[in-house]
Symmetry: C2
């Protein structure tokens, strides 16, 4: 067993934290609620960023950067937004320290008090729409399709690495449009883009849907989302895309003259995914041996471990490996040859399993004789001996297969864990005994939604786009329901 990871069956939550720590993804910092993202974890995040950035640019978006600080008064402009965001936040009140008169370190200089406090951005709608006011005058200035990669801060009381941290990294798209239709189209385009990314790069099947009013982003008219299911049966919101209507344009007085020369408020969207996806990645695929990474996001896709008894064997193996590596690289495969002499092969095997490297090649003296390589898959933990001759071709198709298999496995699990409940008792029993998503009728009121949450901790994850169940009766209130919605206990 690799480096003492608590088994999932014993304590899923501890398993997660063990994995994040032992696989060297992240750790807690000296600052409460803030994490250090370690090089291996950051390398995975960089792969996510690079892919998302490509997808944003291919759909016409450009990057920009807006200030970290937001004047306090900006938050009061949009009534719903202030309720949702301005409360738990980091507030800058002073701009200088001075030597402590007692000679002990430094203290805040009371004379350097800001006239207006600055909030560390929890999200940037306010500062961005305040800026857009100067950028948008005519319909010719629209659309604006801007994304920002940034850090944000929300003062969370209970934090967990990647899943909920005071500071986290994310991207936030903020677009401006001339019509409601175009803004809604953008919102949907992005939720589809996110789903594409989650499924085809992260290997995580997601349900696309719309949030209930109660779960909506503070300031949005509608929030679309993608929801994933973790191995413990809890749901995890993986990304959101908001149709903001004209709310922020009205709050910040952003108007444009339309084609008819009439002044109108601008239509807006915003959307984001964050380092939270790192948590989803870990929890969706990994096992008791460590991480399982989809090849599309693995910093090292293939590791080669030499098995040798003496220097002469090592030299012969290294020479053969030196022929194989360029062939793998030529296929765009990231490969590492671990020739560290201080560690035994067994230690290395466990280490790369822990790190989730999708394919491990091992080569010993007998392989040299037979011109073979031992090929081990991280996802299935199976291995076989294969000819070395065309190993580059074999590994390339194996990586594709692993990528697909990881998704298929997660999808089978997810599909098994969507269950219908038609009565309140059934709902509670399913939730307690099985977890997962529960598809149930709901009367559409926030009141019922909150009561269900209070009694079971389950929330409405979304109303799926493809929900075709038709009308029914609310499991809780017995009132009429328009359609089934998906409930789950969520991270």
């Amino acid at each position: 067993m690799a480096k003492e990871i608590t088994p999932r069956a014993e304590n899923y939550s501890q398993w997660y934290l063990d994995l994040v720590n032992k696989a060297e993804l992240a750790e807690n910092s000296a600052v409460r609620g803030c994490m250090v993202i370690k090089p291996y974890g950051y390398a995975i995040w960089e792969k996510m960023q690079a892919q998302l950035d490509r997808m944003f640019k291919e759909t016409g978006h450009v990057n920009a950067y807006f200030p970290l600080f937001i004047p306090k008064s900006f938050f009061s402009r949009e009534a719903a937004h202030v309720e949702g965001f301005a409360k738990e936040c980091a507030v800058v009140t002073h701009y200088r320290l001075r030597n402590d008169p007692d000679g002990k370190g430094v203290v805040v200089d009371p004379e350097a008090k800001l006239e207006e406090e600055l909030i560390i951005r929890p999200t940037s709608e306010t500062i961005i729409w305040n800026t857009y006011r100067n950028w948008i005058h005519s319909h010719r200035d629209l659309p604006i399709l801007i994304n920002q990669w940034a850090n944000v801060v929300r003062w969370e009381m209970r934090t967990r690495l990647f899943l909920r941290t005071a500071e986290f990294l994310w991207q936030e798209g903020h677009t401006a449009h001339a019509t409601k239709e175009e803004a809604i189209e953008e919102t949907l385009k992005i939720v589809n883009l996110y789903a594409d990314f989650a499924e085809n790069f992260m290997g995580i099947p997601v349900i696309k849907g719309i949030k209930s009013e109660n779960e909506r982003f503070a300031g949005a008219e509608d929030t679309y989302c993608i929801e994933g299911l973790m191995q413990d049966g809890k749901a995890l919101q993986c990304g959101t895309s908001h149709f903001l209507g004209q709310n922020f344009a009205k709050a910040f007085d952003v108007m444009f003259s339309n084609r008819d020369g009439m002044l109108e408020h601008v239509w807006a969207t915003s959307w984001g995914v964050s380092t939270r996806l790192m948590g989803a990645l870990v929890m969706a695929h990994s096992d008791d041996n460590g991480l399982v990474l989809p090849p599309n996001l693995a910093p090292i896709q293939v590791v080669i471990v030499p098995i040798y008894k003496n220097q002469e064997e090592f030299n012969r193996i290294s020479a053969r490996v030196a022929e194989i590596i360029p062939r793998l690289k030529a296929r765009g495969i990231t490969v590492k040859f671990d020739d560290n002499d201080n560690r035994k092969p067994g230690w290395k095997f466990a280490e790369y399993e822990l790190k989730g490297v999708p394919v491990r090649l091992a080569m010993g003296p007998r392989d040299l004789e037979n011109d073979t390589v031992e090929v081990a898959r991280r996802d299935t933990l199976t291995k076989q001996s294969l000819p070395a001759e065309n190993i580059d071709e074999v590994v390339e198709s194996l990586l594709k297969e692993i990528q697909e298999n990881i998704f298929k496995k997660a999808k089978a699990f997810r599909d098994e864990n969507i269950r219908k409940a038609d009565t309140w008792d059934e709902f509670k029993t399913l939730l307690e005994e099985k977890g997962g998503f529960i598809s149930a009728h709901w009367d559409g009121t926030t009141e019922t939604e909150i009561k269900i949450k209070e009694e079971t901790k389950a929330t409405i994850r979304c109303i799926p786009f493809d929900e075709k169940s038709g009308t029914g009766v609310c499991i809780y209130s017995g009132k009429p329901s328009q359609r089934r919605v998906l409930f789950a206990i969520a991270y």
Copy 2:
């Protein structure tokens, strides 16, 4: 003249601000001293980032991410560091707002006061070395070669877009080593890497050297730097690399057991470049028509403008352009076809000159007849008619030529503007009448350095690595001098 840019000769400082604004690189935000980096400016910064990131990785560095916040007490640990950095900084004192009892917006909740204030990082040595304490135990854990891309905040009183802003973007490398020699080697490796980047990507010739004690980074044993010269004769520090000795290891108690099993403090370096380089890029090359971008950093390397009188001509030109574009792209060239019908060719010409697009291709009916293209260079503002047949090949070599020419031109200017002064009068006259770098003898004391600064505003930019002048007499004090150093008035 493009969009009313103040000529350099009239007011260099206003020319710079006009250019940054009109070329849409950045603008001031609603938050004092913080800028908005606009999409075109950010696209250039992304190109810088991508290239630097490649260079860091090729030299064995990895990326990671450390918290935005630093506990106040961390700053008091390293005596010199606190003097240099802890004073002008953004201080977070509270973590919550609440509704104003008067009903007017939100106010800071006095009950949500932090026990210990948090400082927004002005630089991350303290939080990183506090983390390294847990990562480093043995010589086997070394070296650590980490870089971070991040935002930092220094509360500047007088700000100027890119050159000096309260919040800016940068990269900060923080490495840990087992020996002094290895740390110094790393410091030098990075200053050479920065010089390579500045010269071969930004086209800015730089002087590599070492800072005087007075100009050293707060907490460093030695600071190496690259210094560029702007068109107005002022110097601009483009990057610094610090040998930190064991200062931070001692302050944060970071020890390792060496090969002999003895405990030692770890040796450190740190190094960084920032969005300040955007300012250097503008000021080193641009002219009264707008930006001049080196092709290696231009978001659009080639723009194609159609010249037509009617739809039929436009269609024929577009068809020809559609053949050329894939050939340019196949050579890795970024190309834009501006087929916007709302703008005249003259407007487009001025616009792309303003944006610094290195090569402009124009095609009209006569070009179609003759199978030619009009090729205009942004750096020399010259144009010529060339056969369309092999235009992709011609443009590729032209881009290389432009890249080199921009550097050569800047280098010729820089070399002309390094002058020797052997007396105090000569020094003052040169500084006043010519500006530029002045190579002069200095007695090596901070006292003299400060007096020279007070009297002339000139500072010691660096002691160049290749300075071979030998001993002499200080221009100010008349005392013995070991070597000449470079003075300049700097940004």
